[in-house]
Symmetry: C2
Subunit: 259 residues, 2 copies
């Protein structure tokens, strides 16, 4: 058996997206790569899983790289589950997801299919990283991401991650020479100010498109959004124990049991 | 204007599900109720949002209660966004989501459309609660939930919640007389041991159904799963800042910038 690490590659933009093709190329230089990715775009799927429908997997060849590839009809989280239970012979040494076309920094982590794949792998006890480039364009330039993606992946393989923690890595949309470095950060407090674009169907029925703008409410200089705005690659350790431990005492003072 | 609280009611099982009909009845006894819920089941949608498709809203009447109701073609998170931006005249005093048909305790919070609606409201600064009954049956008995749902909602209206925190409430599948009380908890460490049921289409192609069993890996007596197993309603404060603050120092010791 090869002594190279076994690397599971996933994304949410679909198996043919330029972002995952770049990620596969970088991972081929590190280990043995198996790709299990959605057969089409799944952005904004959050942590969806397919419970009421069937799942199809197809072994495919997209380019001439050494990786093995499977396209899947399900969500990113489904892909992780199927990879582990049905495709891989052994537990992968690492799972990398992305490179997403668009930011998953700050509150976007909540909506992210890219990060949900990483979280799903983390729940299975696999060190995992989600990578995103802050450019929504299909034809974004992913070349500048390669060095940071490789460095961070190698550091995770070398050092491991704490139990219950995965990494959310975002890369600013810059030329490689303009990247300032890699910064460990916390998630910025931010939200989307949505606006709905209200229209009418040709048959007179109202409908809506979701639009909106991202608003950073956080002035801290230790946040992922600050790092990205200042030319750094941001690395946020993300946990899936969502308990707000600091609120437990407050809630215990409430009259919940007729006291 | 009425001095009663304005209550936004959402769910992920669809607007006609018995769980939301029970929740509406309880909320009608507390305040002015506006329902904005999916037109069909959305379970397992996680925190999905509809970014690449249109959204339809329809004002409907389901029963003879005083509530206003809107059915929506989108996900639970879409419903919250549409309610706030397009339907309600003012910010609701509270948002309640559910009552979900099935547990959202422990790791299920990650996959939960019910909780994603509550989180979305929380991101908007609205106190929010997700309620779930530990019975997946459409015809589950929701009567026993009513007292706990009312108590917890009234306590949130009275005391408020810390910024960035929403409540994940799960109710064991018991008769009301057998409920032991309400317990504030942390999220249990658990996962799903998935198995895929592999079949063939009539045309000879393999496909899979996702199945699996829930495994509680946490022996603590302060967890939601422990509370539910011992007859208590569990209340977990949940946060949407996913930063694993305790890992930041570890990551800062890594060689991320060629040092």
């Amino acid at each position: 058996m090869s002594k190279k690490p076994l690397i599971l590659v996933i994304n949410d933009d679909g198996i043919t997206a330029p972002g995952i093709r770049t990620l596969i190329k970088v991972m081929n230089s590190i280990g043995d790569v198996v790709v299990v990715a959605p057969d089409g775009p799944q952005s904004g799927m959050g942590h969806a899983i397919t419970v009421n429908s069937t799942l199809f997997i197809e072994k495919i060849t997209v380019d001439d790289g050494p990786q093995q590839e499977y396209s899947c009809s399900g969500t990113p989280a489904d892909c992780v589950k199927l990879a582990i239970r049905e495709i891989l012979d052994r537990k992968p040494d690492i799972c990398v997801s992305g490179i997403n076309h668009g930011s998953n920094a700050s509150i976007n982590v909540i909506y992210s299919g890219t990060m949900s794949a990483a979280l799903e792998a983390g729940i299975e006890g696999i060190p995992a990283i989600g990578f995103s480039l802050c450019n929504y364009n299909w034809n974004a330039n992913f070349e500048a991401c390669k060095a940071a993606v490789k460095t961070i992946t190698e550091q995770v393989l070398k050092n491991g991650l704490n139990e219950g923690v995965v990494l959310n890595v975002n890369i600013p949309n810059l030329e490689e020479k303009d990247l300032k470095g890699i910064k460990v950060c916390r998630q910025a407090r931010a939200n989307w100010e949505e606006e709905f674009d209200k229209r009418q169907t040709p048959f007179g029925k109202d409908y809506y498109w979701l639009t909106g703008k991202f608003v950073n409410l956080d002035k801290g200089e230790d946040t992922d959004q600050w790092a990205l705005d200042h030319g750094y690659v941001s690395v946020v350790p993300v946990q899936f124990d969502l308990t707000a431990h600091s609120s437990i005492q407050q809630l215990n003072s409430w009259e919940l049991n007729g006291k």
